[in-house]
Symmetry: C2
Subunit: 317 residues, 2 copies
Amino acid sequence: MEKQYVVGVDVGGQTTKIGIVDRRGNIITQTVINSKYGPEEAPLFMQSLCDTIRDLANPTGLDTINGIGIGAPNGNYYKGTIEDAANLEWGKGKIIPLADTVSDCLGGIPVTVTNDANAAAVGEMTYGAARGMRNFIMITLGTGVGSGIVINGEIVYGHDGFAGELGHTCSVRDNGRPCGCGKKGCLETYASAIGVARTAREWLELSDEASLLRQKSEITSKDVYEAALLGDKLAIRIFEYTGRKLGEAFADFVAFSAPEAIVLFGGLARAGDFILKPVKEAMEANLLSIWKGKVRIIPSALKESDAAILGASALAW
Amino acid sequence: MEKQYVVGVDVGGQTTKIGIVDRRGNIITQTVINSKYGPEEAPLFMQSLCDTIRDLANPTGLDTINGIGIGAPNGNYYKGTIEDAANLEWGKGKIIPLADTVSDCLGGIPVTVTNDANAAAVGEMTYGAARGMRNFIMITLGTGVGSGIVINGEIVYGHDGFAGELGHTCSVRDNGRPCGCGKKGCLETYASAIGVARTAREWLELSDEASLLRQKSEITSKDVYEAALLGDKLAIRIFEYTGRKLGEAFADFVAFSAPEAIVLFGGLARAGDFILKPVKEAMEANLLSIWKGKVRIIPSALKESDAAILGASALAW
């Protein structure tokens, strides 16, 4: 039987998306299962995942599946595990043998696990904006800042499988914002959706400047974007600041791996030039001269709703 | 004829070292030539280099040479060139086709070029402290701060061949020291030998604190080390500060490529615990919890006088 499909799985804190994908990156069929389970219920989640994959694959049969790729928080590529995933009730402080369990349950199909941002990078390289690129950095701007680094056409996993935590490099050394990771001043506390909302709240408190954002009770990065679209000066400056933090960081990333491009994915990336322009300006201002004008900043080419499944699935080719 | 030797060449601003090396990393014979040539005299330098290599290889013959590895400022691995090397009179603003020229001149022997720090990393991996390691970062602490990054057993060259400029990542974002590269606040302006001397001068001006360093007219990092050895508190604090700057940067490097170790080479690395202790403390304090206690900081295992030749030669195996 020709193995013409792969399965992509995107494990999130609330739900897990599962899809069957063909060689061209078409999602043939997909579904969503619950992934809120109790601290001791990882086996229940994995059983549900296996059952769902088997059902989804039923029309063509498991024999047609080349492999299963799973993007998951703290996913370890080398071990196929989820390790101490803070935002999975059943993953906190535990090592979950996800790849082995799923593979055993499904007759030995190869299963590959990595974190969400690495999966996104593979997706972008296989089906998206980074096709043909051998050196690029994927930055996912969601509630946090994730990263997947590609060097010589391969994801960088490092010595232990956890490389590419660029959201936790230092953006502000002194008096930086506390980060969920326990450190202070991480890029993620400034350049994520949550970081944008935080900047808005801080700045609104620090001045009396008029802003549409003052009408909101709980400000989200979407509110800031909508205000910026309406010409709100404070909102526009918030994106400028956020973009500058990102661009400054990008210049350092370039000094590390000299990528051809940095690909941006996620909600914030959709704020367009409000954020892209300051990102590019700050990156250029901080690049060594050998790289000035040479590193592209490009948006993801994958539909946001499909990207997680596509990215994970691409691991399985 | 068995190709049992390689040639290692270390191109510096004043002199160029050349050695013939066997498979075990023994330097069989070596010499030094002048590399101070005028702006238009790159061909003269390359001719001298070729003549010297031919002479050195004479006892066993060029047929026994497997290849030539050259470490040079701004050496480009992909193109075999030296590109716009500011500290070579004959390399400023020019692209010097070093590999092709030397290879043509010596009957087609393969010639590999890279920068000094990458050559050091290959040397360390082949003959030194990083033997058997597949993921590590080499940091050379000389007049500047150089770096060679190894991922999956291979040097990271990036899209353009210039990856690994970690000395020019940002250490101090606001009001940072001007760097020779044109940027401000680069790690190199704090953590190099020149950076140490600069810190000493700045601190001596800022206070009246007693210090042995006040007796010196032109302070070098060696003076600071000798004062620290004698218990000079200011000198000790200078190393603590330098080490902290390095350690903070290392934590971000780890977040990038999750190396097994960071190998330190060069004069400053010999300041021992004066610098290593604060490096380790600052790195640990800034690492994500998954890496705490897991990334080693180790000194180079190559003799400083041999390292440049060995490193470059290792490129040729």
